[in-house]
């Protein structure tokens, strides 16, 4: 892919949407090389006089800042048969995502500066979606000894998490929160008490009883959220919960925010668009971690997004190959791919009347960017020209086999979606066009 500067390009005749400022107007964006130079209503006309500039006519489609996805598993280095940086980059750009933050659960684990630099360098060379790594909270993600968070942060780790593992020891978590405060670092927890989740396959409840599967109770998430909120309060540390899935967790986080605890959280599209019934007939593509919950939980997640208690929607992209999914349910791996469907499924919140288009987009642009401190997710003069041009009404059928991801394990396979990315621009270069 050419990394040459693109000169001046103007994207005209677009519905400009900037969730950070509330801008919603017909207009356009002028970019020069990798930066946004100007934007606004002055670029509304498709046939305007723009001088010596390449003109891209958006034909009335929406133009917003490129999406920021703060929960992605990349599998490179270590498990390239499931996914690579390049394939994830292609998948992400086709979903309008211009920045993503990857979990440290690679092999080797991102608990060492050399791995942070490896991932960053590989991603830069590809010139696709920008990749920012999380560093590990504990060495080897073992939940015991703290990783070198300070130095990892200096070398580019944007925040810290043990990925799909919870930091299960209250003592370790307390120390990590206190230590992270030294450098004002953010910790991201996978909230699930391992002793309650161990051996579980799906949400505890009527369906698990019927199917003869072992349940993972909602309380496994709830007690970890409650515990860590208290630890964050106690230490003054900054804490973010990944993929919240239960109604009760939202209540705890709501009250914590009201008290001024420095806590934020995200959820993923499956948790507001699917419920536990999706695993019926032992569909392993719907085996996720945390498990898909009850309908009441799903509705509470939507309410949490409307109220702003849930700050972010992240894809929770977790590629798994066929050998890991075409198995009896109990043996199958957890997780689903989600880069390509993040925008479309999130737009369901808008189409179903739960949120305004701007509020909906905020959860996938400036919302996540602000939490991990990325210079992204905004239309600003001088900012990187990372743009997503999409048609909010374009209908399509999600077909796992057509996805760019190497692994096809989408929980949304076969779903009819409304809204699709038409063009993705990163640093002024068009990297995807439908």
């Amino acid at each position: 892919m050419s990394l040459k500067p693109q000169g001046r390009v103007v994207y005209v005749n677009a519905r400009l949407l900037d969730p950070a400022t509330g801008l919603d107007v017909m207009g356009g964006v002028l970019t020069e090389n990798e930066k946004i130079v100007d934007f606004g209503a002055g670029y509304a006309k498709a046939d305007g006089e723009y001088g010596d500039v390449s003109v891209v006519d958006c034909e009335g489609a929406c133009l917003c800042p490129g999406l920021v996805d703060i929960r992605v598993q990349l599998r490179e280095p270590g498990e390239e048969h499931k996914g690579t940086l390049k394939i994830a980059g292609v998948a992400a750009t086709s979903g309008g995502i211009t920045s993503m933050v990857c979990l440290p659960n690679t092999t080797p684990v991102i608990d060492d500066m050399s791995v942070v630099e490896f991932v960053a360098r590989r991603a830069r060379m590809l010139g696709l979606t920008k990749v920012y790594p999380y560093g590990a909270i504990t060495k080897g993600l073992e939940g015991k000894d703290m990783a070198e968070m300070g130095m990892l942060s200096e070398s580019g780790a944007v925040a810290f998490t043990d990925g799909v593992h919870a930091v299960s020891s209250a003592k370790v978590m307390r120390k990590a929160l206190a230590y992270a405060r030294n450098y004002d670092l953010l910790l991201v927890q996978h909230p699930e008490e391992p002793s309650l989740a161990a051996g579980g396959d799906m949400n505890s409840g009527d369906l698990a009883i019927r199917m003869g599967l072992t349940g993972i109770p909602a309380v496994a998430e709830v007690i970890m959220v409650a515990r860590d909120v208290r630890l964050a309060e106690d230490t003054g540390g900054r804490l973010h919960f990944g993929h919240i899935s239960t109604a009760e967790s939202i209540d705890i986080i709501r009250r914590a925010k009201e008290r001024g605890v420095k806590v934020t959280c995200d959820t993923a599209p499956p948790y507001f668009s699917l419920n536990e019934l999706a695993v019926g007939e032992y569909r392993t593509f719907a085996k996720l971690s945390p498990p898909l919950r009850s309908e009441e939980d799903r509705q509470a997640i939507i309410q949490g997004l409307k109220d702003g208690v849930i700050d972010v929607v992240a894809s929770d992209h977790a590629p798994e190959d066929e050998d890991s999914k075409r198995l009896p349910f109990a043996q199958a791996a957890f997780g689903g791919v989600g880069l390509e469907t993040l925008l479309s499924i999130t737009l369901e919140l808008y189409h179903n009347g739960h949120m305004s288009l701007l509020d909906c987009l905020k959860t996938v642009t400036c919302g996540p960017a602000d939490i991990v401190g990325l210079p992204a997710g905004r239309l600003e003069k001088g900012a990187s020209a990372d743009l997503c041009i999409f048609d909010p009404d374009r209908g399509w059928k999600i077909d796992a086999d057509q996805l760019a991801s190497k692994s096809k394990n989408s929980p949304f396979d076969g779903r009819l979606a409304q809204g699709r990315c038409l063009r993705t621009v990163i640093d002024g270069r068009t990297v995807f066009e439908l």
């Binding site: 009527d206 199917m211 003869g212 007939e281 198995l327």
Partner: protein, 323 residues
Amino acid sequence: MSTRDRELRFTHRHLLGIEGLYPFELTDILDRAERYAALNRQRAAIEPLLEGRTVINLFFENSTRTRTSFERAAKRLGADVINMSVATSSIKKGETLIDTAVTLNAMHPDVLVVRHGDSGAVELLSQKVNCAVLNAGDGTHEHPTQALLDALTIRRRKGSITGLVVAICGDILHSRVARSNIHLLSAMGAQVRLVAPSTLLPSNMGILGAEVYHDMREGLKDVDVVMMLRLQKERMEGAYLPSQREYFHFYGLDYDKLSYAKEDALIMHPGPMNRGVEIDSDVADDIERSAIQEQVEMGVAARMACLEVVTANLEDWRKENGL
């Protein structure tokens, strides 16, 4: 065959579970089984309906009783039987369930009888083969032929299932036998009670269509049938129950607890029994009331009926699909 007969029979290629089957489908199998039970008892000659057919017993979990019962049933009907157990197969060499299914399918069997330790595994396998599949137990999900043989035993002893009160007692949470029995008995019009401590019987198990009891004497009051379940040894040592003796004290079937049931209550157990854990030896061996030996006998008859119906339906399916 009259039109009415055609409509009121079991028409599926596989028997994967009881859930979702109609009472007339269950009755169809039970009626056929009833006939086989009588013929077996008379040591009478039986029409070799499965002559030239291949039945593969594929057991991913060890089981002598069920496998032998299926083998006996298939041979009574004249089938060639191949037994495959995990120890001699390539599963231990890392072959996946689907690879195994595809490999066996290439041998053109007519019926696969499958037991697997994971819920849903037999259904997954059935999607990849061109033969009929009988579920011989999948994880903690279903064990349909056990429920059918239990129903056959009850029907022979009590005349009918409709209107009976049946208590299922023991490790219900981990029991595929319990799930299949709850579905079958409630479909046939019996009232089902579940009796166990709450660690082995979450309150929402009632959604399967049964009443939940944690006091055994209360649960056994005026029941027609007491169905005991086997308790796995590893569940007795602290994880689900404090001890074997505490379990027996509160939930073991002895004459005192049994006295709360109807006087002619039938005692059943799918076997193998843990004497002195879930059932007192004297009760288990009570010739008047225990139907435990008869259950084993009915197992062969019920499985003959299952083999008969799925093989007939397989023929229809093969014709429809040009195979």
